[in-house]
Amino acid sequence: MKYMLLLYGPDLPEAGTDEARKLFEDWNVARGAMQDAGILIDCAALYPVTSSTTVQVRNGETLLTDGPAAEIKEHFGGFTLIECADLDEALRWAASLPTARDGSVEVRPVIGVRQPA
C-alpha cells in the first residue's frame, strides 16, 4: 500500500544558517531510516510558495494565479511517498519526519492503479 505524506509547515530557513543545517541533518536521519527500512519510494522538498503558480481551467479557459491555491499559514512544502503494510506503519513513519514537529504531516492513501487482468 502506498501512502503519500503531505508536508505542511513554515517556509524553509535561510540557506547557510544553523537552522538550515540542523533541518538538513534531521531530514538526512529521517530519510536514512526510511531507506534502511526499505519503505521509501520518493521524497522531495519544494521551493517556497513565492515561487508557485496556481492553474485553474474554467470553461476551457486557463487561469493562472501567482502564489498558492489557498492563503494559509502553513504551506504545502514537500512530500514523502512510502510503501507500508498498513496505516499504523505509515503513521509511525509520518511521526518520524521533522515536519511533524513544527508543522503537519497529512497521510493520504494512494489509489493503486489497476493492471488489466
Binding site: M1, K2, G38, I39, L40, I41, E83, C84, A85, D86, L87, D88, E89, L91, V107, P109, G112, R114, Q115, A117
Partner: protein
C-alpha cells in the same frame, strides 16, 4: 463478524459475507432443518463466501506487490495470517492477509475472543472520528441496529448511517489493520476502547427504545470484553476501573426489574438480591486500581457504584460523597449527563430544591431536551417539592421521547399517582 473480519481483513467484506451466509440460512434451514451448531455453520458458509470474493482480488494484489518490489522496497511482511492474541505473537504487526496468500487451511472456524479484541481495536482506531469508533463497534462487534445506535448517541438515524459508511470506507481505503496493537502502541489506544466497552454495557443496561430493561447479552459481552482488556493491560488502573464499574453495576441486574419487566428504582431494590460475589470482586479490583494513584473517569464511576453497593439500605447511602465524586468526574467528562447525575446526588444530600437548580440550568442544552432520563429526573424532583402540574408536564416530555417500555410503565404509574394520564 469478528472471525470473518480477521480472515478477510476488511470490515465491509466481512459484513457482506455474513449477510450472504444468513441469506442462505434463511432459504435452507426451514427445509433442511437447523444444523447442530448453527454458529459454526454460519461462520463456515460466510468464510466460503469471503474466500470467493477474495480470490477475485488476490491476483490484482499480487501484481501490486510485484510492482512495489520492483520499485525498490522489500515489500511488506504481511503475507500470513497473524492475530495479536496472547503469546509470542502479541502485537505483531500486519494482521491482515492482503498480499498474495489465500485463506489458509483450518484456521478460524471457532470464534476466538482474540478476534473480538482485534475487531474492537480496529473499530476504535485513533485515525477514525471519535464518536464513530463507538458507533462502529456497537454495529460490528455487538450487532446493534443503526437505529439503536442513533438513539444511544441522540442523533438522527440517517446521520449515524452516514458516519458508519464513511468510517468503513476509510478503514478499507487507508488500510487500517485488524488486530491488537503492538505493546508500545497499546496505552495510546486504550481510552477509546474502554469508552466503547462502557457504552456497550450502558446500551445493554438501559436499552434505548427496546422492550427489555436489561439486555443481559450486551451486559455479559461488555463484562467479558472488559475482563479481556484488564488482562491484556494489567498495569492500567483505568482498565481495572472499568471492569470494577461493570461488575458493581451488573451485580444489581437481578434486582432492577420485576418479573413483569417493570423498573425498580435503586432506592426500592431488594439489596439481598444483589450479587455479592460480583460486588466483592468489583470492590477488590477498584481498591487495587486506586492504589496505583492514577485516578480516572472509570475509577470514579466505579467508586460511585461502590458507594451504593456498600450501603446497607438506601437511607444509609453517602450522597454527599457521591455528589463530590460526580464533581470530580466533571473534570474528566465535562458533559451535561454527568452534571445531571450530580444534580440528583445533590438533591439527595441537600434536598430536591438544590438539585432542581442544577437541572434547570441544564434545560437549555439540546442534548438534555432529547434525553428522557433528564425529564424523568426533573419530574421526580418537581414532585418532591410539590410542583405537581410541572412534574406531570416533565413526565409527558419524557414519554414523547419514547423511552424503553418498562420506563414508560414507570412514568405511567407516576402520572396516575399525580392524578394525571
Amino acid at each position: 463478524m469478528a472471525t470473518l473480519t480477521r480472515l478477510t481483513g476488511d470490515l465491509e467484506a466481512a459484513e457482506d459475507a455474513v449477510q450472504d451466509a444468513c441469506a442462505l440460512a434463511v432459504s435452507k434451514w426451514p427445509a433442511e432443518g437447523v444444523p447442530a451448531n448453527p454458529g459454526s455453520w454460519l461462520i463456515g458458509v460466510a468464510r466460503h463466501k469471503a474466500v470467493d470474493r477474495m480470490r477475485r482480488d488476490i491476483r490484482r494484489r499480487e501484481k501490486e506487490v510485484a510492482a512495489a518490489r520492483e520499485a525498490g522496497g522489500p515489500g511488506p511482511d504481511a503475507g500470513r495470517y497473524r492475530y495479536g492474541g496472547p503469546g509470542p505473537d502479541l502485537g505483531r504487526y500486519g494482521n491482515r492477509a492482503p498480499h498474495g496468500s489465500g485463506p489458509s487451511g483450518d484456521e478460524g472456524w471457532e470464534s476466538l475472543p482474540d478476534d473480538e479484541l482485534g475487531l474492537i481495536f480496529l473499530c476504535c482506531h485513533p485515525s477514525l472520528d471519535p464518536a464513530t469508533r463507538v458507533a462502529l463497534t456497537l454495529r460490528s462487534v455487538c450487532g446493534l441496529a443503526t437505529s439503536e445506535i442513533a438513539a444511544a448517541f441522540l442523533v438522527p438515524e440517517p446521520t449515524m448511517a452516514q458516519r458508519l459508511v464513511r468510517a468503513k470506507r476509510k478503514i478499507r481505503q487507508a488500510r487500517i489493520s485488524f488486530g491488537v496493537p503492538r505493546p508500545d502502541n497499546l496505552a495510546a489506544r486504550l481510552g477509546s476502547v474502554l469508552r466503547v466497552v462502557y457504552l456497550v454495557f450502558t446500551q445493554g443496561h438501559m436499552a434505548t427504545g427496546g422492550n427489555e430493561l436489561v439486555r443481559g447479552g450486551l451486559c455479559d459481552q461488555a463484562v467479558r470484553l472488559a475482563r479481556a482488556l484488564a488482562a491484556l493491560m494489567p498495569q492500567e488502573p483505568e482498565a481495572a476501573g472499568l471492569l470494577a464499574l461493570l461488575l458493581l453495576t451488573d451485580a444489581r441486574r437481578g434486582a432492577r426489574s420485576r418479573d413483569t419487566g417493570d423498573i425498580i428504582l435503586l432506592e426500592d431494590q431488594d439489596r439481598g438480591r444483589w450479587d455479592r460475589a460480583m460486588i466483592s470482586e468489583g470492590e477488590a479490583l477498584l481498591e487495587r486500581a486506586l492504589r496505583a494513584g492514577r485516578p480516572g473517569p472509570y475509577q470514579l464511576h466505579a467508586a460511585i457504584a461502590a458507594c451504593h453497593s456498600c450501603a446497607a439500605s438506601a437511607a444509609d447511602t453517602d450522597w454527599r460523597e457521591i455528589a463530590a465524586l460526580y464533581g470530580e468526574l466533571i473534570r474528566y467528562e465535562p458533559t451535561p449527563v454527568v452534571e445531571a447525575n450530580r444534580a440528583v446526588a445533590v438533591a439527595m444530600a441537600e434536598g430536591p430544591a438544590a438539585g432542581l437548580v442544577i437541572l434547570d440550568a441544564l434545560g437549555a442544552h439540546p442534548q438534555m431536551s432529547r434525553w428522557p432520563q433528564y425529564h424523568i429526573a426533573r419530574a421526580e424532583l418537581l414532585r418532591r417539592v410539590g410542583r405537581y402540574a410541572e412534574a406531570s408536564d416533565s413526565y409527558r416530555a419524557a414519554l414523547r421521547l419514547e423511552p424503553a417500555v418498562p420506563e414508560q410503565a414507570f412514568i405511567g404509574q407516576r402520572m396516575r399517582e399525580l392524578g394525571d394520564g
